[in-house]
Symmetry: D2
Subunit: 303 residues, 4 copies
């Protein structure tokens, strides 16, 4: 369980004290503020603050004096138009600040998205907590045999048990040794900035992460995707739910024009047109490599 | 006067309707929201939205569950420490969104600060307003004779009158021609995206500009500086006043450790130390070029 | 003609003196170095420097010790895979530095691409040249009647002549006044930083612009597009030709998977699949708005 | 030793084949190309490519047609002026691409510098090597008692031996378990993307890192500083030596105006001036906190 009673009490205090503001308010997101959405075994995502709502996107697009809204219907149409035609700057006018607890190996993937602001818990300055990610049995997956960068079926039986035992035992031993090295009872104690290097990357860290809506959508498109590693995808999924409540029009447009969209190459477009005219196109006559052809089949046939 | 009655009415409506929020609220900045602070003859700066306050800087620096504040005094000390030691990421956790009306030649300097979000009024899509910056008499300055990139005393008498006349007449004529070219009475009308090119850069444009506090401080340090062109400095000054009301601790630290600070080169530090020990250092014995030596004199002697 | 004999002589000198290097060399781009490719009436694009080639993209993708190349064929396959699957970081490992001369109103669009390095000729410090963009007759276009943000047919006859006359006369008068104001014969002379504001935005400026290949492709996708304003599109087209000679594999992949690609929304994909199965889909049964439906027709029918 | 004979042979091949180029060439940096400079026990820094030299900084600052150089002396003066007055864009016109091998916990600090391009060895796709950072005895430091975020004296005797034993044993055991989990002999083998999470952060990773000179100087100022953790400082020091050979004028200016410079707060400047006039200033009369006063003593007294 990620939150202690003291932490929960702090959150409750914050949630009990609304204050008046003249800013744009998103009722859907206010309901999430400070609450921890659990992810993986010890992780979470919490909304700390936000700026803007659906109307703010339109207001910026129109460089308006007032609310910039003509009608709600009108706003939705404009947002869909902006998304479809890659007008990204109005979406940059909304901002989200999250508090995230996540395993270090997930943090290492996450941080590759550079257009965001980050404040991470410092293992030079502070002592890490004894919390490690141990995959659930159904996530203890074998190496994929078709994709070097993916996973296959869940391990079974003895092999699964052996892996689980290794992960648990090594985590606990590493933390015992970490405590032993930094301990100052009868010894000087190793510097924290050195002792931390003995900890495996399934240990949990925490950070504040702030990002604008355009760059957040880019993050979600890559990380809520089926090709993303499961352990980061569950964070992206949790954030998708939050964004859907924050800016419902923008999120729906994102689903239709990004998440659910397909980009077809010049060759794919050509083949599709020929097929719509009745031609029976084969890989040989398509101009695509075998690999692209398989990807094309996925595009046109998936039911 | 920059605002029409309709625009003022829109602002009044927005200011009349506070809503409850659970987010951090800065009372000092709420008082500014939507109000237009006039800058130059037709320009303004208006706060549209913000995220965070002084406490939010500390909360991020501590990666806290709750407010992250131990005491107000404690917060100020932490903020000053962060500013002094160039720990910039906690300041990135605050964000400000402005609506700015400004001459195009000022916008061209401003946009060189790339770490910000911008939505500008589109002269491809819309028709520009007939509003041009005409300098006040005391700002109609001569070219500096000591600094290629600066201005000297205000022009006087006939020369001043002639320049003023040119700027006014050319602005009005350019706008007349602009209207004439795009007009569709009895003719097709030139495309807006072409007609705009005939307008001089003292015409006013508008944009929404959103930036985090760290990058805003960087902008203010360069643009509220005595070496910045007057016409952008007045915008920076107006924003300084706003920020001082938004995050008073952070702004005070910014004044002490950035705006009012001095960076001394290795040579300057060496000379200062020798002088404090009683040595009479000259340019010859300083290791500095004539130009650096003059800059050093400014540092140590300015009363 | 954009280049003076002195400028041409400087270029010739640079082109006459090859030096040995151990770095990756792109013979195709060496042939372009320093040469000015004319764009519009007085503008140009010149390659000043570059880093990397097609092989360097693969080398970075593989984090290699040596050249990182297994075979040329292998490299092309890898580059196409990276482009198709949005693995953008290896493309960031190539860099291009251009010297561009362009009208100010084009520069204002261009600079909105923020992930690049820019050094512009300073009109605070220096005196601008008397060079203005005057559209060729076939580019003197009317406002589009179907698209607020576009242009229609070229103006004809008297209207075209009148517009041409306005643009030419206003440009020359503005420059005459600029010179008159900054002149120091018998007067102090207005500061350059002020006098420049009287110049219209069809005046030419110059800058050094440096960008990585990934962000350059993003720029080209938006600006070499049919919806981009003609006056920036011609610069994008000129750069496309340069990039095709620099990194031929990457450019071909860019043509196939970006320039010539089509992104279909979730609704479009669904309709396409239904149509391929023989269903006669109409706008009513498509789930698309009228506008999206028209865009879909373009995707599937364009021959 | 970080390089295998095969890797050394690849490097030797690359170094044996100079090609002609018309680009700016830095002889000082050509001598470093591809060679691995060893850092820590198994790490290195290798220059893979570069763009520009000292003259290129001046050429961009002047937006020149040709080399942009008037004389070598003139160039040095301009570079020092640009550095002293924070004109950063000309320095962005040079670029450096490095291949770095470094422990994961160092990589996690390094990546916080976001304005750079990175391609890291993928532990999802590939198998990590058995190489771990084990501190040399003199770097096995105790936690600092004055600075929460620093280290004190080296551990001695039995405590040092115990820590060394833990680090070595845990690293080897973690790698044994990593191999055991991914092994496919008689079992399916755990997915690489999961197995890697058991590895501690003293394991070495590798990346290609590309950065412009302005942002590189910013990185070096923070990471070659005495307050930076030793394990990243040694990388910064190695890069400083490389940059000094690449752009000697710019590097000297960086040493004088950044590395060796001191930024004094408004209060410090005031006190210094009073002291230079003969006043005996104390902490009480200084307006500084106790902590700032100590920092001020360091500025004025360090010999």
């Amino acid at each position: 369980m990620p939150l202690s009673p003291e932490q929960q009490a702090e959150i409750d205090t914050l949630r009990a004290a609304p204050q008046p503001t003249l800013r744009a308010v998103s009722p859907g997101l206010e309901a999430h503020l400070y609450t921890a959405h659990q992810v993986l075994d010890h992780g979470f995502v919490r909304v700390i603050d936000y700026m803007g709502d659906d109307a703010a996107i339109c207001q910026a697009a129109r460089v308006s004096y007032g609310k910039g809204t003509k009608s709600v219907q009108n706003d939705e149409g404009l947002i869909r138009y902006l998304m479809r035609h890659w007008h990204s700057t109005p979406f940059e006018m909304c901002e989200l600040k999250l508090h995230v607890k996540l395993p270090v190996f997930v943090a290492r993937q996450w941080i590759r998205h550079r257009t965001a602001n980050v404040n991470e818990y410092s293992a030079r300055y502070s002592i890490m907590d004894r919390e490690f990610y141990i995959p659930a049995p159904e996530q203890m997956a074998a190496q994929s045999v078709v994709n070097n960068q993916g996973r296959g079926e869940a391990l079974q039986g003895e092999e699964a048990a052996r892996v689980l035992e290794i992960l648990k035992t090594d985590s606990m031993r590493a933390y015992d040794h970490y405590e032993e090295m930094i301990g100052q009872d009868g010894q000087q104690g190793l510097a924290r900035e050195l002792a931390r290097m003995n900890l495996p990357t399934n240990i949990y860290t925490q950070w504040y992460w702030k990002v604008d809506l355009h760059n957040l959508f880019h993050f979600l498109r890559l990380r809520a995707d089926a090709h993303a590693q499961y352990e980061i995808r569950v964070y992206a999924d949790a954030i998708c739910n939050i964004v859907a409540d924050w800016v419902p029009f923008a999120y729906k447009a994102f689903e239709d024009y990004r998440l659910g969209s397909v980009t077809m190459s010049a060759q794919m477009v050509d083949c599709m047109r020929r097929m719509l005219k009745g031609e029976a196109v084969t890989q040989e006559s398509s101009g695509m490599s075998a690999r692209e052809w398989r990807e094309f089949q996925d595009v046109i046939e998936k039911s």
